[in-house]
């Protein structure tokens, strides 16, 4: 099935330029319209995978249009392509856009960003789950972390190392910070896999504005209780898994990727918990844990995270399925997840049995290190 892409711009020259730029993209079915109203009409008539909208248009502007698309067709990937350099416009687009491209766009970037979004479809074949991921604007941030963050940015001179520690400790904050930098909200898209680097790129002043806008970072997470989860314990497990993954990464250059994949490995649980109550059946029943992992990975992909990190999250329950650069990373997260879980159970006096795919570890030569890693996990747990 061809990917359907809708372009919206009030300047016909821009639309025609794009149609010529992309004239050889035979597997894309492209529609070009010159207003927000026509875009909504087109969306009402047929299925689209991606919308690319200008920001400044008479009547309904890009941010308003994408809010409508978010509300009415959340499964459509939302991209802004704007000539505006005003921060105000960026801020308004932040809650509703997956990516933010600025005109004039580097050659090849438009194709690359649309192509990346289209390629994510392979992770999730259930359309209702893609729609669920597309409706997510931000992941929940723990209340006490958010409060400490507000205190930190209230200081005249923001202590960025404190901020970095807070952001690293929270899945909702880390994922949003990387979303904003990697999806080009502040200039060219970056491929950051380190929260610290992303934060220093954003800078203290801008980060303060992000926090104070109160529209960028999510709060809540109250719906988690429905699935018998608590945000606190999910965050604790994510942080433990990230720290372990960092340590057991087979090569130093994989450490940042491993940390991130470890931190985000259960994002799918948060996404699934955000569904409307009573819609389980409409989603084809609760997803398997593998499917839930892909659901989280799909959202991270929409947010512009590197594909091998996305795949490591997607396949952390079944690392044998992963291929390419992600295979090694998925195995690392798989082991870290198992070790962190076993340690938690041991502490609370339950079994503490290590649930890992022993066959896979044996085939990949990782089994011999398992005892060493388990010891490492215990040591890390004691120091934490």
């Amino acid at each position: 099935m061809p990917q359907r892409v809708l372009f919206v711009d009030d300047e016909v020259g821009v639309l025609q330029g794009l149609s010529r730029l992309l004239f050889e993209m035979d597997d894309w079915d492209m529609v070009f319209v010159d207003s927000g109203d026509k875009a909504l009409e087109a969306l009402g008539r047929g299925r689209f995978d991606v919308i690319v909208s200008d920001m400044c248009m008479p009547g309904m502007d890009g941010a308003m249009l994408l809010s409508r698309v978010h509300a009415e067709s959340p499964g459509v990937v939302r991209i802004i392509l704007t000539g505006h350099s005003e921060l105000e416009a960026t801020f308004r687009a932040m809650p509703v856009a997956h990516s933010f491209l600025t005109k004039p766009c580097k050659p090849g970037l438009v194709q690359q960003v649309i192509g990346k979004s289209c390629a994510l479809g392979g992770l999730l074949d259930r359309e209702s789950l893609r729609t669920l991921a597309g409706s997510i604007v931000a992941l929940p941030v723990q209340h006490h972390v958010h409060a400490r963050l507000l205190d930190a940015v209230a200081e005249p001179r923001v202590d960025m190392s404190l901020v970095a520690a807070l952001v690293r400790s929270d899945v909702g904050l880390s994922s949003k910070v990387l979303h904003l930098t990697n999806s080009a909200f502040f200039g060219s898209p970056c491929n950051f896999v380190s929260v610290d680097r992303a934060l220093s790129y954003i800078g203290a002043g801008m980060f303060r504005r992000l926090v104070l806008s109160r529209k960028v970072f999510g709060t809540g997470g109250d719906t988690l209780a429905r699935d018998g989860l608590s945000l606190e314990s999910e965050q604790r497990h994510a942080a433990a898994c990230a720290a372990l993954a960092f340590r057991i990464a087979p090569r130093p250059e994989l450490r940042d990727d491993a940390f991130l994949a470890g931190l985000f490995h259960d994002v799918g649980k948060l996404v699934w918990a955000s569904r409307e109550p009573g819609t389980d059946a409409a989603h084809g029943g609760p997803p398997s844990r593998e499917c839930r992992a892909r659901l989280g990975a799909y959202l991270l992909g929409l947010w512009g995270l590197e594909r091998h990190v996305v795949d490591a999250v997607a396949y952390h329950h079944d690392p044998a399925t992963a291929s390419g650069a992600a295979a090694e990373l998925a195995t690392v997260v798989h082991v870290a997840d198992g070790l962190a879980r076993a340690r938690d159970e041991e502490r609370s006096g339950r079994g503490g049995e290590l649930m890992v795919d022993v066959g896979h570890l044996e085939r990949t030569g990782a089994l011999s290190k398992l005892d060493e890693w388990r010891q490492m996990s215990r040591t890390l747990g004691e120091s934490a």
Partner: protein
Amino acid sequence: MHSSRESIADLPSTVLDALPLAVYVATPPALVAYCNRAAIDLLGQAPQPGFPLASLIETCAIYRAGTGQAYPHDDLPLYRALRGEASSAEDLELQRAQAVPLVMEAVPIFDRTGRVQMAIATLSRKTTSETDADVSSSVGRRNLETIGELAAGVAHEINTPMQYIGDNTSFLGVTLRRLLDVVGSFERLIEASRTGQPVAAELVRDCERELARGRLPFLREQAPIAVEQMLGGVEQVRSIVQALKEFSHPGDDKPVLVDVNNLAKMASTITRNAWRYAADLTLELCEYPRRVRGFPQELGQVLINLIVNAAHAVEDRNAQTGAVRHGKIVIRTRSEGDRVELEVEDDGAGIPDEIRARVMEPFFTTKPAGKGTGQGLPLVRRVVEERHHGVLSFDTRVGEGTRFRVVLPACDEED
């Protein structure tokens, strides 16, 4: 007395809200506890209690006058009051399109143990007599600020054509490669036919394949339009850069002869992003107007202000009637006897009777914070009347529109 000040909630907020003075209350370490109505109006922000003071100063862009820098927190009277010190400062500036000079006074309030319980500050606009009286220097500075205000719009006007110039260039690059492939296959065919041997069917198939891959019908139709649009885009960028150059280099002290038609073209180009979403703009320029003697940047400033106001008037009319209607703005030049006239006419909301007399007063504005500082028309009048010995007038009908007219003495002589 003391106990009645225990909590700010005890103060009747209706009284505070009725005060024509902006009042801020902060609590240690540096948090906003309360702002009255006038304070919210002045800064255009309604911070919630507990909002950090530092961010209020940053987001409202309170600067130290003349430095272009945010006001240093430690020196701000409100911070000093939090440290137990009463003080005032007259060098504050609200960083807007045109800076708003402010005065802040603050006092601490102590609790029974002598610790600072809260700090109260008032913020008021400096009255005209307190502001910079030097017309020529302030006109020059404001000129740059308005260009600065337009900068985002100008960037948009340049970025948009750059986008399609880039896209079309990429397209033509691919087109060229495809065409060269076609040419290459034909060259091989010709080369083969020279030998006198029968031409291999494979070579013909190559030509056909390259022709199909080249999508010639599409290229034939699109390539000429692409080139035309690129040249149009280049022309748009060129005209904006030209207008920017004319308006933004600091004015000479010496007056020069100014062509009002050129002025009208430049001002409409540079403000395009401000009016294009609200209205169509037409130029009705007389042929061969006489020239005027003066300062082109300042006169350009006059037109920019009037055009931006006209666009806002159209938006206001739409906001009032709830209709989405594309307005009309006309810029007219006329040259009669020894006078040259410039008119900016809109079909916007018009100026209501009760404020007609006040629109030329400094700081008088009906626009929401951030959109106007009430210095546009006073500046226009100063430039026209004090700097160019002209006359500024307007006629207006509520709900139908406004026409501003600038009459300047004609002059054909260089110095």
